[in-house]
Homo-oligomer: 306 residues x 2
């Protein structure tokens, strides 16, 4: 698989493991579509499936899993903390390898048109796939959830869908489809139980308050461990990598006389992010993927096969 | 390729690129044998080929390249700075993935017996493959080179080969075959032109003088750049990794008031060595190869194929 798109659909079902297993099977019924992981949250009554596929297969896998979700999940019986307006609530496409944002937008639009036409589910496009500026932000699209959308979709002009007819699918609601960058979820734990310290550092390092433009951050207490955490999302790791976020937190912590206890990756991290951290700390002057033994073996294998 | 042996034969020819190309072709004539890189040194009149193969193919690839070297290189016409006693002078086997040192020793011995029998080239086993303690050290085996061996092999008992008859191959000499661990060649450059500083730090960090057991180190001048370098070989990176060598050099440099300018990998580095450096500097508490996106994709691919 040379060119890879990642897809991270969110479903309004987090209690029945059997449903999630059937959704995984729907994705993997498509050749060359691979599920990397699933996350099921009973409190939010919501699940996330992470899968990858080449661009020519990813739309088919996405349509199949949305169809299966429409068969298995009835929003009229769904309750949970998390806002939602669809059985498959959100369907983000993420460019992973050798593919542009523009190509992913075309794939997201193709998936949306098929879901609207074949499954009679109205579709809204968000973030890079948005067709209207007021729909770039996911939360704005979803405000009021399924119940409010059901009331307004046919009567309030600005709630008309981007694809499909202006009425919700009776049981599956609507689907919000977008293109967003790969996120790295990265937390730094501090050797203190003072939540104010974590919040102050979060403010200092995040873009919203004048810190690193591609970093979102919040301060949390890890009650069980008696420490606090700066919890971050890196929205463009090619521009601001984990080591830069770590160093920014360390600078702020040093200034407050607080020590860094540890850090952690939540979910998955691209190899390049770890490599670039090693390069930075070791001051490596000749790093390139070509100096890595395993990459050279893969290259030699590909060259000889060609 | 699940199980991998690396092989790094050294040849007594560093001037004719065509000869090296023919040696590469001999390796790659074996299915599943892949050349990762070559290094040709005209001053030393010597070349190195790095290749990998699964254990069941590596002996065949090694025998074929030694045979081709015997056809192409005539030691009687060879001159160069580097000590040597064979057309293929040294042939080390290195356990790379899912294979033990003991298995590699069996492969090295099998290659040696075949080279002696099929090519009439006498063979000496060194390092982990040595059959006599006085042959563990490569330099001891090679002392005096081809010319002295030719005189002594038939008459001096302690120079009798480990495999084959006690006479050199007329033009190809002898071959020294061994098993050694993967080495990482790693240099740290210091922001000073004082060679004494590099030598002092090298002494402090290397095992021979009480430093890190699995680190060899020397101090050099990089005349062209006006700086000095601590040049290291890490002989067991699973025990002492690049970040530990870097930190040891930094501690000594700090004590001498000297700054680290940069570091560099010479040749190839295993992915695990870079990952573990990132883990260390970021204080990552949940590092495992499973959190790396590309590894998860490879696992999902293998799982679905199975």
């Amino acid at each position: 698989m040379e060119r890879i798109v990642e897809c991270v659909p969110n479903f309004s079902e987090g209690r029945r493991a059997e449903t999630v297993a059937q959704l995984v099977a729907a994705v993997e019924s498509v050749e060359e579509a691979f599920v990397l992981g699933t996350h099921r949250d009973a409190d939010h009554n919501r699940s996330v499936i992470t899968f990858v596929a080449p661009p020519e297969r990813v739309v088919e896998a996405a349509v199949r899993v949305v169809q299966r979700a429409a068969e298995l999940i009835d929003l009229r019986e769904h309750a949970g903390e998390h806002p939602r307006m669809g059985a498959c609530d959100v369907l983000p496409f993420i460019p992973l390898r050798d593919i542009t944002v523009e190509e992913c937008v075309r794939l997201a639009h193709e998936a949306g048109r098929r879901i609207a036409r074949e499954l009679s589910i109205p579709v809204y496009f968000y973030e890079s796939a948005a067709l209207r500026p007021e729909r770039v932000n996911l939360a704005d699209v979803r405000r009021g959830g399924f119940e409010l959308l059901r009331e307004q979709i046919g009567s309030v002009a600005e709630r008309a869908p981007d694809a499909g007819e202006a009425r919700v699918h009776e049981s599956a609601g609507a689907c919000i489809i977008g293109v967003r960058p790969l996120l790295i979820a990265y937390n730094v734990n501090l050797r203190t139980n003072d939540l104010a310290v974590a919040r102050r550092i979060a403010r200092a390092v995040r873009g919203r308050d004048g810190g690193l433009a591609k970093v979102k951050a919040l301060g949390f207490e890890l009650a069980g461990r008696g420490v606090v955490q700066v919890s971050m999302n890196l929205t463009a790791y090619e521009e601001t990598n984990i080591h830069e976020a770590f160093e920014a937190v360390r600078r702020e912590a040093d200034a407050l006389g607080v020590e860094i206890l540890s850090s952690e990756i939540v979910g998955l991290v691209p190899q390049a992010a770890l490599d670039r951290a090693a390069e930075h700390f070791l001051k490596l002057e000749n790093y390139s993927p070509d100096i890595v033994l395993e990459n050279r073996i893969a290259q030699a294998l590909a060259r000889k096969k060609a």
